[in-house]
């Protein structure tokens, strides 16, 4: 192609481009969230703490850049100074290009939604809620999610789990556990026999072979404490967290179906070992429909039954552990003390805190679609966290989320670390085990 022809093609391309741009519909956001775009003074405090920026030092991934660019996109499409208005033309307001929108979407999804930026932001912008709302607008307009995240979303829609597994495999973990004599009997199906407590297993603990121990240990503990509980078994569906974090509107349908199912069970309490499911059901579901039961993370429930004497921790474990706060349990839900209290109740456990804990805890990088969208960055983030854990001199790294378990294992393997990754339920299970 000659230079002239190339120029002509470029010119045509440029002339065509703005007409292809879809207007972002932002009615799912609130006026306050749109005001928050202006509340960012671009002070850069978020840069210091962002786990993603820590690995990928591009201005584009910073929360301040996301807020500034989204405001720019909105201003070019709406308002008195929009690009196609008289004032917009007078002040030469540029139309946002397709390339800019795609790059913005790619950067917006390069985030683990850990909420660290909210906790250090002087303007206290509710960043994660904002990103999730913007992601929804991008999905509606066809700019999100990322290609590599689509299979995860499609899997939730098709199989009710993000791991591409058939629905019929959801209870395989309990069957296997019974076969291997890890549990005496499979947990009761709560839809057949009513119970006070529903144990919501969650997709990761149900399907991931490496993390199934979380579900098995929880069952062992509940059985030992003679808790009147049941599980949904094959009727359990994904909580929809994946869709919510990535901006897919079908989250509402899934949430509504789940809420209806849960509310009809007549339970008093729902417990879950997954911080992501916990945050979604406890914090996000009530925005759609009221729940007629209490939602607790397993650690909170275990403290209750230990304190009431229902569960006795008899074995001394003699372990030096360090605790990793899952973002969705800590920063998103404010549960910092319960897991630490539970660890102190286990005989022989010595907790050594990492430099960054509680609201300053460093994310493992697995959440918000980052692990599926940017696995290399997640790997790096996880390695950084593992190094912090190693620096404490602890032998075990404990957390309270199967997703963090997965995410941190990536770092342990990459570093060939000697740290042993454990879910908190594993330690409790070891403490109650009948050695005879």
């Amino acid at each position: 192609m000659s230079e002239q022809e190339e120029k002509k093609v470029d010119k045509e391309k440029k002339a065509k481009e703005p007409t292809d741009i879809k207007k972002l519909i932002v009615d799912n956001l609130s006026p306050r969230q749109l005001i928050e775009l202006d509340a960012c003074s671009r002070c850069g405090e978020c840069l210091e703490w962002c786990p993603v920026y820590n690995q990928d030092e591009r201005e584009g991934v910073t929360p301040r850049s996301k807020a500034t660019r989204f405001k720019k996109i909105l201003s070019s499409q709406y308002g008195l100074f929009r690009a196609d208005s008289l004032l917009g033309k007078l002040f030469r307001k540029k139309k946002v290009t397709s390339e800019e929108l795609h790059q913005f979407a790619a950067d917006l999804y390069e985030c683990s939604t850990c909420r660290q930026c909210h906790f250090v932001c002087p303007s206290q912008i509710d960043t994660v809620e904002l990103w999730e709302g913007i992601r929804r607008s991008l999905v509606d307009a066809g700019y999100g999610p990322l290609e590599q995240q689509k299979s995860l979303i499609q899997s939730v829609k098709s199989y009710d789990n993000p791991w591409g597994q058939p629905r019929s495999s959801r209870t395989r973990w309990s069957k296997m556990a019974k076969r291997q004599k890890k549990i005496h009997q499979e947990p009761t199906d709560i839809t057949k026999k009513k119970a006070d407590v529903l144990y919501y297993v969650g997709c990761t603990a149900a399907y991931d072979v490496n993390v199934q121990a979380v579900a098995v240990n929880t069952i062992k503990i509940l059985d030992a404490a003679k808790v009147n509980y049941g599980i949904l078994g094959l009727k359990e569906k994904c909580c929809g967290s994946v869709l919510l974090r990535m901006g897919d509107r079908e989250y509402e349908r899934i949430a509504m179906e789940n809420i209806k199912q849960f509310n009809e069970l007549g339970i008093k309490t729902m417990i879950t070992s997954c911080a992501g499911c916990f945050k979604t059901i406890r914090n996000d579901y009530p925005k759609i429909e009221k729940l007629n039961f209490e939602v607790k993370h397993t650690v909170e429930f275990l403290i209750d039954i230990i304190k009431s004497g229902q569960l006795k921790l008899k074995n001394k474990l003699n372990m030096k552990v360090t605790y990793h706060d899952p973002c969705h349990l800590g920063r998103h839900s404010g549960v910092y003390d319960a897991p630490r209290e539970l660890l102190t109740l286990i005989p022989g456990i010595e907790i050594i805190e990492m430099d960054r804990t509680r609201e300053k805890s460093r994310c493992c990088g697995a959440g918000g679609g980052l692990k599926s969208g940017y696995p290399d960055i997640q790997n790096e983030i996880s390695q950084t966290r593992i190094k912090e854990a190693e620096a404490t001199g602890a032998t075990e790294l404990v957390s309270a989320c199967p997703f963090c378990y997965q995410g941190l294992q990536v770092g342990i393997q990459a570093l060939d670390s000697k740290l042993i990754m454990r879910d908190i339920t594993e330690l409790v299970s070891m403490a109650i085990e009948d050695k005879s």
């Binding site: 009615d27 609130s30 202006d38 671009r42 002070c43 405090e45 405001k71 002087p122 925005k287 404010g334």
Partner: protein
């Protein structure tokens, strides 16, 4: 002591020393109305007369500029409101909780505790500029509403005028300290987390010029008037006035023109608010207080 603390002490010390030296040179006297008239009879004003220049030029220019600034400001804010109103979902989780909101106004909006925890120099920048501006604005509103409602005059020499002088200089100095530290942090120390966009520099230049021209106005006045206790209330102007006094120049005429320039910059700044970084002066308190209310509601749930 940390570097930031030393810088602040140094700046305050310099101000104090200048003020001492300025007041030590001449004996105090009282400002009389005659002092004002003598200066204002200069013939360099437009129309050759101060009072004609005041009535026929200065205020007309001022009100025209004010009207233009108000229109630009309103257009900008209308545009912002149009964008903000695109959001249709609920802004608050539950009802507005006044207790936590008021607490957050004191601890986070005014005292900016969160910034203080992370960096003292950053806190000084934020506190100096934002609080300086908020207090200046409050003082201005208070005096204007007093004038309109009770007819009290704060321009003619009086205790009210002295109070105004003191407060304007005090909060102006607070802003200047904030700007000084912001410039050091942004352009000298070049903090790694800073990103300098045009709007950042524009905002700083605007604020710097407003305060500088304000202090120069005071300085021109102090350079002309005989030293008096009253002048000490304009402590920043007194320092500048002591530097200018040896030069026998028509300061009152300069004062006339600089006043118009000061007014122009201030009004341009107001017109610029909806379009640049300064928007966060309005948006930040909304975000902070809404978060406080939400957190209180979540904790109660």
């Amino acid at each position: 002591m940390k570097l930031t603390g030393k810088i602040i002490l140094f700046v305050l010390g310099i101000l104090f020393l200048f003020n001492l030296s300025a007041s030590a040179r001449e004996d105090y006297g009282a400002i009389t109305e005659q002092d004002c008239e003598v200066c204002h009879l200069d013939s360099y004003y437009p129309g050759g007369d101060f009072f004609e220049a005041e009535d026929n030029y200065k205020w007309k220019i001022f009100w025209a500029m004010t009207a233009l600034a108000a229109v630009i400001f309103l257009v900008g804010m209308t545009n912002n409101f149009m964008l903000w109103r695109l959001g249709k979902s609920s802004s608050l989780r539950g009802k507005l909780r006044w207790g936590p909101v008021l607490k957050s106004i004191i601890t986070e909006v005014i005292l900016e505790k969160r910034i203080l925890k992370t960096s003292f120099i950053r806190w000084s920048v934020f506190f100096g500029i934002s609080m300086g501006f908020i207090f200046l604005f409050i003082v201005f509103l208070a005096f204007i509403s007093l004038k309109l409602s009770t007819g009290l005059d704060f321009i003619e020499p009086s205790s009210l005028h002295l109070t105004l002088d003191l407060l304007l200089d005090l909060f102006g100095a607070l802003i200047m300290i904030g700007i000084f530290l912001a410039i050091i942090r942004r352009y000298v120390l070049k903090s790694a987390q800073m990103e300098n966009l045009t709007q950042d520099t524009v905002a700083l230049i605007f604020i710097f010029l407003i305060i500088l021209s304000g202090f120069l106005l005071e300085g021109f006045r102090c350079a002309t008037l005989p030293p008096s206790t009253a002048l000490k209330f304009s402590f920043m102007g007194c320092i500048i006035g002591s530097w200018l006094k040896p030069f026998e120049l028509p300061w009152t005429v300069y004062h006339y023109y600089l006043w118009i320039i000061h007014g122009f910059i201030s009004l341009a700044f107001i017109a610029y608010i909806p379009f640049g970084k300064i928007r966060h002066f309005i948006a930040c308190p909304i975000s902070i207080t809404a978060t406080a209310s939400d957190e209180a509601n979540v904790n109660q749930e």
